[in-house]
Symmetry: C2
DNA sequence: GTCTATAATCCGATAGAC
DNA sequence: GTCTATCGGATTATAGAC
């Protein structure tokens, strides 16, 4: 019979194994409290393999960050797709963000709470990343067609989604009694009251 | 004449010099990107003096964090003092937070954005710190006396202040065109519309 | 209390075999 | 492509003089 023992991953599988392990460790302990040796051990690969695939520690974090931002952007695009109404879009975005927070807390922890600029020096602040720009865009469209009051777009976007983002942080900090999803209606209602015309 | 050259600080002055320097470096480059030697050089003191006063690097960060939280708590208490009305209190809190963000951006950067739990391992999440509890309390009082709709207190507090906190982050990231204070009216109006009864 | 010099450790990255 | 062994450097913390 062919070998039954758990094989060490190789090639693309190895690359993904390293990224997943890095995400776990980075979001649990933080980037600076995680050494390459820690990742090596937890992912059961060699140091050489990590450096072959990523070059250095910072590039590994960057690859992870880009991957997660892309994932988040796709989530938001999907939430908006087929909904022309501003309120519906905003609600769907919050619902999707809440789902992702519950399903992939480490992903959200890393994207939202990690201080990327501490280690990804040349990375722009997360507010200018595409997912956050997309959220602002939805609100701006609402202002243009009259669904939303005519206020400063940054203020409107912060009012619409700021409460939801704080609730996500609270959930990640285990400060909430109930699952995040159970607050969805109230959270959306608050955000929408804040900006609707 | 007595010596005119800039004296090295000693005693309590030294302690405060170290804390101020540490705040600057921590908030600019981050805790892990700042070494004790960096602080030593920037503050023009000796390593020995730093260890004498604080014991170790983590304790220095903790002392700084406690100091800033206390400062923030006092700001919020002062903003509430003499105002019995929920809306007035909330507005005054936001105004004070905006002022502090403009006057002491590094302080806000460190308190809000720094990932304390990465280095202050046993510190509770910031949402359970006294300043944030006080903000929640103001909203809960508003619910009790009918000024605020009867919704989950965490949701209400997040809706009232979440937008303001996001605007502070945007300001710290230099994403806003105008000074933070100029957005105060709109930001408060949004938050209040979100939760008023 | 403050200083300088140094110890002990750990980490990121590389070299070179396979 | 993947591995192990190791280097060079930086960092925290201590020792001991003053």
């Amino acid at each position: 019979m062919s070998q039954e023992s758990p094989k060490r991953p190789r090639g693309t599988a190895l690359r993904e194994q390293v990224m997943q392990t890095a995400l776990e460790l980075f979001s649990d302990r933080g980037y600076f409290n995680t050494s390459i040796h820690d990742i090596r051990r937890a992912a059961d690969v060699s140091i050489g393999a990590i450096y072959h695939h990523f070059g250095n520690k910072e590039a590994l974090a960057k690859a992870l960050y880009d991957d997660l931002l892309m994932h988040m952007e796709r989530d938001i695009d999907e939430a908006c797709f087929g909904r022309g109404n501003c309120a519906d879009r905003c609600r769907a975005i919050i619902a999707r963000l809440f789902e992702s927070t519950a399903e992939s807390p480490r992903m959200m922890q890393f994207v939202l709470l990690a201080q990327h600029r501490e280690f990804l020096r040349d990375e722009p602040p997360i507010c200018s990343s595409r997912p956050f720009q997309a959220m602002k865009q939805v609100v701006e469209d609402g202002i243009r067609n009259g669904d939303v009051r005519a206020i400063e777009p940054w203020v409107a976007a912060s009012a619409m989604f700021g409460g939801a983002l704080r609730m996500m942080q609270l959930s990640l900090d285990n400060a909430l009694e109930r699952p995040l999803a159970t607050y969805l209606d109230e959270v959306f209602e608050c955000g929408w009251r804040a900006i609707r015309s």
